[in-house]
């Protein structure tokens, strides 16, 4: 299996002694028209990759901030098809890897084959499907095999070591280390086991380990970033864009280069 672009980009960043930073946005929040602006803003701010959330009616892994953003995006008429189509229009301007985060049902409704093709056409380099555990991933892995699209595997605090090893073996792009038991969104505190959990993942994994869920301020970005190869920030960025407070995003990013 050839190493995919997403992983190479992550590894290049880490090789410079820096931490990877993945920014999540809810595609269509603020209308599809604002998608280009948001992506280019994050790109100019120097994020390592951009996670493009696809709105869904029943986002069971998400907390209130992303749920509400999803509802706004749904009301604005965003869906998997028109989001990918929109991206394709300005893909030449995008040099930062795009990772699509979608629940499984919209992908099934699109058709797995057609969806994969559309991802390739719009230059998507990674895929996160929060309700697709390793056991069920064959529904899409055969389609992704000959593409440059990495299927990101998630590991959780509840995953036992044997399972972690199995997931790490299948991992491509990066491993998404879920840092809380719960949904996405701001957390004040993290478990004391976090450091050990991330250290173990880094030891087991051949690909970079990025921590995500609940990471929402520069202090957390710095502290948790130090334990992993990088972080994923979602709700805080989604909220900042919604509030028109882009400065806050720049601040989050500047603090993390340590």
């Amino acid at each position: 299996m050839a190493i995919k672009t997403l992983q190479k980009v992550m590894e290049a960043k880490i090789a410079q002694g820096e931490k990877a930073f993945v920014a999540y946005i809810m595609a269509g929040d603020g209308g599809l028209d604002s998608l280009r602006e948001q992506i280019l803003f994050l790109q100019d701010s120097g994020v390592t990759a951009i996670e493009l959330g696809i709105p869904f009616t029943d986002p069971v892994a998400d907390g209130p901030v992303i749920q509400e953003a999803g509802l706004r995006a749904l009301e604005a008429g965003a869906n998997l098809r028109n989001i990918l189509k929109t991206i394709t229009k300005f893909k030449d301007e995008i040099h930062t890897p795009l990772v699509v985060m979608s629940y499984l049902n919209p992908i099934i409704a699109y058709g797995i084959q057609d969806f994969t093709k559309a991802c390739e056409q719009s230059g998507v380099s990674g895929l996160i499907i929060p309700d697709l555990p390793l056991e069920e991933s064959t529904i899409i892995t055969s389609e992704l095999q000959d593409t440059d699209i990495a299927l990101i595997q998630l590991v959780s605090l509840t995953s036992p070591q044997k399972r972690i090893i199995k997931i790490a073996k299948a991992a491509e792009g990066f491993i998404y280390a879920v840092t809380v038991n719960g949904t996405t969104g701001v957390r004040q505190e993290f478990t004391e086991q976090l450091e050990q959990y991330l250290a173990n993942l880094k030891k087991v994994s051949q690909v970079p380990v990025l921590a995500g869920f609940g990471i929402s301020n520069s202090q957390q970005v710095k502290e948790i970033g130090a334990m992993a190869d990088g972080v994923i920030v979602g709700s805080a960025i989604v909220q900042a864009f919604h509030d028109g407070n882009n400065k806050q995003i720049t601040e989050l990013l500047n603090k993390q280069s340590m």
Partner: protein, 402 residues
């Protein structure tokens, strides 16, 4: 030839079922599967379960010959499996009891559950009171409104009821919120899913705990009539009473099985809960099933006068039984269900739940077409006390139900 529905792969019913859940829940599902397998090998587990089913729930409940209804319709002999006579008034307690015992085996002292009509919530709150388990129930805000009495019943039983504002505030939204809660509290909490839905092993566990409905029916009808029935009818929301009733008869080809979905305002209006009739496959709440959805894969709201059928999908085993043609799935509208409710109330003095009324209406139609020496069993899944207000509103009080 005997059709087999043995699962080729764990948790798969043909192409349906599976485990489409966040990674955080996978370990809990694997633990649950292991605990259940272990319990299945332990006679003491069933001894305890059967003790409570008998002395607490009141099983076995009767298979009642509905003589007046039979005469009125002039066709097949009609029997009612009286799940409405169970403690708490519906079949839901069979599963809640089994899963609570399973949770205790796993050392879990906290229970989360979703509820639509409130019957599963009441059943869960009841067993939690019985076994001193902490209990939190998620219920859509629309259901909280239309089933206010059940909310109070759950609170009386010591449960915490959380009203869910998201979406249309019905069963689907309550499941979403219960799943989110479970993800956050998975280490000490068991999720008592109320229907034959969700990720493996839930559809199997719920079915197994509900199979008692079909097993008793089988024994009772043979005692009474010396043979198996010609047809069995049950209503389908997620499908737990139906799968429990059908499963022991699936290999008896001569027994025709009918599942009745909620057609709401009518299939042609789009305002219904009949996912099998709609024929769109997809993933919701952890399983691959028939799911009401639009072309973008966004889940659509279900519509039914009965809160217990108001769910946009049907459990995976039913989807498979449909695909192999073993069970025939029909749909009955709100209006027709109200007719069914009145029919049984007046001919037999039994007010059925709105859910079960769907089965009654369809069975009445079917019975007329059957011969007098044929036998039809209806699964009377619950009693209608909880629905009296809804029914009064629907009938407008104009003709007092006449």
């Amino acid at each position: 030839m005997v059709k087999t529905i043995e699962q080729k792969q764990a948790g798969r019913y043909g192409k349906f079922g599976g485990q489409y859940v966040p990674e955080t829940l996978m370990t809990a599902l694997i633990e649950l599967e292991d605990a259940y397998k272990e319990a299945q090998q332990d006679p003491a587990f069933y001894e305890e379960l059967n003790y409570y089913l008998k002395d607490y729930v009141g099983r076995e409940n009767p298979l009642y010959y509905a003589e007046r209804l039979t005469k009125k319709l002039g066709g097949a002999k009609i029997y009612l499996k009286r799940e409405d006579l169970n403690h708490t008034g519906a079949h839901k307690i069979n599963n809640a009891l089994g899963q609570a015992l399973l949770a205790m085996r796993m050392g879990k002292k906290k229970i989360v559950a979703e509820t639509g009509a409130g019957q599963h919530g009441v059943a869960t709150a009841t067993v939690c009171a019985l076994f001193d388990l902490e209990c939190i129930i998620f219920m859509g805000k629309e259901d909280v409104r239309r089933q206010a009495l059940n909310v109070f019943r759950m609170e009386l039983l010591g449960a915490k009821v959380v009203s869910v504002d998201q979406g249309a505030g019905t069963l689907k939204d309550a499941v979403n919120e219960a799943l989110r809660y479970w993800v956050a509290n998975v280490e000490d909490t068991h999720y008592i899913l109320g229907s034959a839905l969700g990720p493996h092993p839930f559809p199997q566990i719920v079915r197994d705990f509900q199979r008692i409905i079909g097993l008793e029916t089988r024994k009772q009808i043979v005692e009474r009539e010396g043979r198996l029935p010609d047809a069995i009818v049950a209503c389908i929301g997620g499908g737990s009473n139906a799968i429990g009733m059908f499963h022991p008869f699936v290999n008896d080809e001569d027994v025709k099985l009918y599942g009745v979905e909620a057609a709401g305002s009518g299939l042609e209006t789009g305002l219904h809960a009949a996912a099998i009739a709609d024929q769109k496959e997809g993933v919701l709440h952890g399983a691959y099933m028939y799911v009401l959805q639009d072309d973008n894969g966004f889940i659509q709201e279900a519509h039914s006068i009965s809160a217990g059928l108001d769910y946009p999908a049907v459990g995976p085993e039913h989807c498979h039984l449909h695909d192999i043609g073993r069970v025939k799935y029909e749909a009955v509208t709100d209006q027709e269900a109200l007719e069914g409710l009145q029919l049984l109330s007046r001919t037999e003095g039994i007010i059925p739940a709105l859910e079960s009324s769907h089965a009654i209406f369809y069975a009445a139609k079917l019975a007329k077409k059957m011969k007098k020496d044929e036998i039809l069993v209806i699964c009377l899944s619950g009693r209608g006390d909880k629905d009296v207000q809804t029914v009064r509103d629907a009938l407008g009080g104009i003709n007092n139900g006449n």
